[in-house]
């Protein structure tokens, strides 16, 4: 008991800046610096803790801006046009949502619109705002909130899944009709690269450190 009380009294002396806990197994760990391209992994459970990324702020800013520019054409211009027996039909991402809605599949329509339109847009906007603020050294009060929202929305943007869905559709339709690929598909591929890329080059560890340092 006495030893425990002594330990508790000395908790303040632990340098909270240099230790961290594994989010998956709660193990207390000493923070070590990682060189570029390396990553730190929890020794007990194997969870990847953090990795060091070069020029994270600049790259995130560039990729999120590219994604935002491509967003409208990617989602609203037709992806492809099906030509069978002289009849033509085009589809865009947005058309998919309205079609589900018109057929009264409201729950499915809401899920699709959220995961393919709303959440990717919010994620890109949040990353853009945060990386722009960090780049310009401008620290509005909401910055931490934005990072938190991004963190929560991370797995809910499903553009890559949609891309594979497009590929499956192409394979399925290839022998039934003639497929003409439209500009929207190119823009969508670009959007996918930008969105995926921006989440890969993002160094959350660095961003949080920068936000915390400049907040005061």
């Amino acid at each position: 008991m006495r030893e425990h009380a002594e330990m508790e009294a000395e908790i303040d002396k632990l340098d909270l800046e240099n230790i961290m806990a594994c989010p998956d197994c709660d193990l207390l760990l000493q923070q070590v610096g990682v060189a570029r391209g390396q990553k730190a992994v929890c020794p007990r459970c194997g969870h990847m803790l953090y990795s060091s990324k070069k020029d994270s702020v600049d790259k995130t800013l560039a990729l999120s801006l590219s994604g935002l520019i491509l967003y409208l054409p990617a989602n609203f211009m037709p992806l492809m046009t099906l030509d069978t027996l002289g009849l033509e039909k085009s589809a865009s991402i947005y058309d998919g949502v309205t079609s589900l809605y018109q057929h009264n599949y409201f729950f499915v329509a809401v899920m699709v619109v959220l995961t393919s339109l709303v959440f990717p847009l919010i994620k890109l906007s949040l990353l853009f705002v945060v990386s722009l603020a960090l780049k310009l050294q401008f620290f509005p009060r909401g910055l931490a909130q934005f990072m938190r929202y991004y963190h929560h929305l991370d797995e809910w943007g499903m553009l890559e899944v949609y891309m594979v869905g497009i590929l499956v559709t192409i394979v399925k339709m290839n022998h039934i009709a003639h497929i003409q690929y439209d500009a929207g598909l190119l823009c969508f591929i670009g959007l996918l690269w930008a969105a995926l890329g921006s989440s890969v080059v993002l160094d959350e560890h660095l961003f949080w450190r920068l936000i915390e340092q400049k907040k005061t």
Binding site: M7, E8, E10, I11, D12, K13, L14, L16, I19, A21, P23, D24, C25, D26, L27, L28, R44, C45, G46, H47, M80, T84, L87, K89, S90, A91, D95, G96, V97, S99, L100, H103, Y105, F107, V108, M111, V112, T115, S116, A144, Q145, R148, H151, H152, E155, W156, M158, V161, V164, G165, I166, V168, T169, V171, K172, M173, E204, W208, I211, E212
Partner: protein
């Protein structure tokens, strides 16, 4: 001077980890199930996710129940010259294999059948192992959970395919494709399993 090696976990050391920004915050031992606010990001901080086991059980059981209509009811309706043909998820997969598109068949089989069942069974296994205090294969179970978290969203693949087909193959009386009731239940399965992975606190595995 207290050394890091004196404490095994953050909880034992009287520290709580913020879910969002991963900052360590001093935690009073008597605080129990209460919550604090993270000074860095403003999020609610808990020593462990509140009510994690109950919520995860509820969600995974709901997912298992929804999986029944999702697989039995048809997910797609193909109209050809006036006669409608309904196909379930399995029918779609069999169609691809019969047509010779084995690659696509395997992708759909994986995304629509294997992934959801893998998630449900995996989460149930992990939950049972916590309740019964099975201590073996801990690292593998931790890896299992990370895999479950990662693959969750890929089950939406079938839904996106149907959404696209519904728009593209719409030639009126001649031929048209429409979604069918299973789509709603299947989307429900994806949603509940994703939430189950969010409510589950993997640290409970290691709280021996």
């Amino acid at each position: 001077m207290a050394k890091i090696s004196d404490f095994l976990t953050a909880r034992e050391a009287g520290l709580a980890l913020c879910h969002d920004c991963h900052k360590l915050i001093p935690w009073q031992k008597g605080h129990g199930q209460g919550s604090s606010i993270c000074p860095r990001c403003g999020a609610d901080v808990h020593i462990r996710k509140p009510n994690s086991l109950n919520r995860t059980w509820a969600l995974v059981i709901t997912a298992a129940i929804l999986a029944v209509p999702a697989n039995i009811l048809p997910i797609m309706q193909v109209d050809f010259l006036g006669s409608a043909e309904y196909s379930t998820i399995m029918d779609g997969i069999i169609y691809f294999f019969e047509e010779g598109s084995y690659g696509i068949g395997i992708i759909i089989l994986t995304a629509s059948v294997l992934v959801p069942s893998f998630k449900i069974i995996g989460i149930v296994l992990i939950l049972l192992s916590i309740h019964n205090q099975w201590k073996s294969w801990l690292r593998h179970k931790a890896l299992l959970f990370r895999v479950i978290e990662f693959i969750g969203r890929w089950s939406m693949l079938d839904i996106f395919v149907i959404a696209l087909l519904q728009v593209l193959v719409n030639f009126g009386y001649l031929t048209s494709i429409e979604s069918a009731p299973a789509a709603t239940y299947f989307t429900g399965v994806v949603l509940t399993t994703m939430f189950a992975a969010i409510t589950f606190d993997p640290r409970l595995l290691w709280d021996a």
